[in-house]
């Protein structure tokens, strides 16, 4: 087990290295440099001013050399300074992390309390018409674009105070109740779709597990449907959901871009969006690295958790 964890941890390194190379070169391929954006459309710079600006922005060397310099600084924990705000990049990214973690957590939470009971319920009904209806509802959940749901929520709830964070987002540490109230609708916009995934997954797994021999044996022993379901089937059926949720959690941390945009939440995704729009190279490189790191880390943790709760799995 230890060996496995170590091996997995080491395998993160090439992925992050690849991400860093990809990001570093990709951002510089985007037309319109940070310097041009800085100058905007109101001023013109002479060639010598441009050279000077390049030096100030730290872009005055060939890209591969810049990359190596950047990488060596990152290893020392120095993520550089934002070209837009001139502030150090890492603290500003880490400032966004609590919100993204919270949003991810609440979304997963909502998806579980929506998805699992509905999944169980639907797997108990054997009426074909209800079956089809349940499937359609589930698929409908999958078909709702998050940003549209979010937009609808804003239309519906804008007159009720406190539900829509309009740039006055309150951190959990300042006022937990207010914070949760504000994150409810954004989490629901994500959680509904994810809940549909969880529901379908739960249902399918239960149906599958119910076909297994040991369940049939249990039933043959005369145990009631309910006991069979809750004591035997459910545990095994729900285990794989950990993987699904873990995978989505990884993406949500940096991928709730549209939700953060619609609700004006200061999260990681929106920071990345603006970094692209502003060609804020150091910030974008930093944030993508952090997002990718969290993604691989969460996937690793999910796998380990899975191994932990499912004794059948033994890693070498």
């Amino acid at each position: 087990m230890k060996k496995y964890i170590l091996k997995r941890l080491l395998s993160i390194i090439p992925v992050l290295l690849g991400v860093s190379i990809l990001v570093f070169f990709l951002v510089r391929l985007i037309p319109g440099s940070a310097i041009e954006l800085f100058l905007g459309t109101q001023v013109e710079a002479t060639p010598e001013q441009m050279e000077e600006l390049k030096r100030i922005f730290g872009e005055d060397k060939p890209i591969p050399i810049l990359y190596l310099e950047w990488l060596s600084r990152i290893l020392k924990g120095d993520f550089g300074y934002s070209l837009r705000t001139s502030r150090p990049v890492l603290p500003d990214i880490l400032n966004r992390l609590p919100l993204s973690l919270e949003l991810t957590f609440f979304s997963l939470f909502l998806s579980i309390i929506i998805g699992i009971p509905l999944g169980i319920l639907s797997s108990l009904k054997q009426n074909p018409i209800i079956n089809i209806l349940i499937r359609i509802v589930g698929l409908l959940g999958l078909s709702l674009p998050q940003f549209w749901l979010a937009t609808l929520f804003v239309i519906l709830f804008s007159s009720i105070e406190g539900f829509i964070p309009m740039g006055n987002f309150v951190p959990f540490s300042k006022n937990p109740l207010m914070n949760i109230k504000m994150l409810f609708l954004p989490s629901l916009a994500i959680g509904l779709g994810l809940g549909a995934v969880v529901m379908r997954f739960t249902r399918n797994n239960i149906l599958e597990v119910l076909q297994m021999d040991y369940i049939k044996t249990a039933k043959a022993k005369g145990l009631s449907q309910r006991v069979v379901l809750f004591k035997h089937a459910l545990r095994n059926a729900l285990l794989p959901i950990v993987t699904v949720l873990g995978f989505n959690a990884g993406y949500l941390l940096g991928g709730a871009i549209v939700i953060e945009e619609v609700f004006a939440l200061p999260g990681m995704g929106r920071l990345a969006l603006y970094a692209i729009f502003q060609r804020d190279y150091p910030l974008l490189q930093g944030i993508v690295l952090v997002i990718s790191f969290l993604f691989v880390l969460i996937n690793l943790l999910t796998d380990l958790l899975y191994a932990f709760i499912d004794p059948r799995i033994r890693y070498e």
């Binding site: 690849g18 674009p145 549209w148 399918n204 949500l252 991928g255 990345a272 969006l273 997002i291």
Partner: protein
């Protein structure tokens, strides 16, 4: 033909198919006729609610929302189909190289896939769009690239799982050429998961396109796409909610159509695969 007979046994797939056909016919009809010119502005009819004249209302330039949704369906379907074709063909190609030939190249390719995988799809698509510029064909390319790794992984895994089965091994033993074995024995046997994945990709592509356009990195005005209609509607959604509601409904139902069809297809082709997603 056999396929369609089989299909008729799945009511879900049929409902899905009907929805898709409805949108397709709307898209095709939209080429020749729309109630109003989707680009024509009318300053006397700005932000009018649904009425007999404009039954889904008008937008901030007095353009007919229904006509714009019709044209938007063409763009969405076009992008969805083309992006899925790109993602699947590219993914099959890479997956085959990786899974069938293996070796160092396999290792390298899979690391690249890992890297692409660790980006949230929307973020990766935004990157690609920012580099390529906001053109319709670039949206197709971006979405295609984003979903390629999933196909590559799937194909590779499927190939690895049947590569060592007896019938493939015996084909090798007889001395069949690699290409022959690939096309004769392997590809036909992994077709089902690919088709299932493709049906999933169709709906994901629509959602991703609309999200991109919503953020201003997809299809650009004045050409209507459901995403950019929603994006500009955001400014008026409180005074003119219809501008935001109808394009969204259009997305929901087409995606639902693809999902229903895909789900039904999955049942028919391979019941074991119900768990995907």
């Amino acid at each position: 033909m056999r396929f369609f007979i089989k299909l008729s046994k799945s009511p879900i797939a049929i409902v899905g198919l009907f929805i898709i056909i409805f949108y397709l016919s709307m898209a095709i009809l939209g080429i020749f006729w729309t109630p109003y010119d989707p680009l024509e502005m009318d300053y006397n009819k700005v932000l009018k609610p649904p009425s007999l004249e404009h039954f889904l209302g008008t937008d901030e330039f007095g353009r007919d929302i229904f006509s714009r949704i019709m044209v938007g369906s063409r763009i969405s379907i076009l992008i969805s189909l083309s992006a899925t074709s790109i993602a699947s063909s590219l993914g099959i190609f890479l997956g085959v190289i990786s899974g069938f030939w293996g070796g160092r190249l396999d290792n390298l390719l899979m690391r690249v896939v890992d890297v692409l995988f660790s980006f949230p799809p929307l973020l990766l698509a935004m990157f690609i769009m920012a580099i390529l510029g906001e053109r319709t064909y670039n949206v197709i390319i971006a979405i295609g690239i984003v979903y390629t790794p999933q196909f590559a992984r799937l194909v590779r895994a499927s190939i690895l799982s049947i590569k060592n089965l007896d019938f493939v091994q015996s084909a090798f033993a007889i001395g069949g050429s690699k290409l022959h074995i690939l096309f004769r024995h392997i590809l036909p046997n992994i077709l089902v998961p690919i088709i299932v994945q493709a049906s999933l990709c169709l709906s994901l592509a629509i959602l991703l396109e609309s999200a991109l356009s919503f953020l201003g990195l997809g299809i650009q005005p004045p050409y209507p796409s459901w995403g950019n209609m929603l994006s500009s509607a955001r400014r008026f959604m409180l005074i003119a909610p219809w501008t935001a509601i109808f394009p969204g409904l259009a997305i929901v139902f087409l995606v639902l159509g693809f999902n229903l069809f895909g789900d039904g297809l999955r049942d028919l082709l391979d019941p074991r695969l119900r768990n995907i997603r």
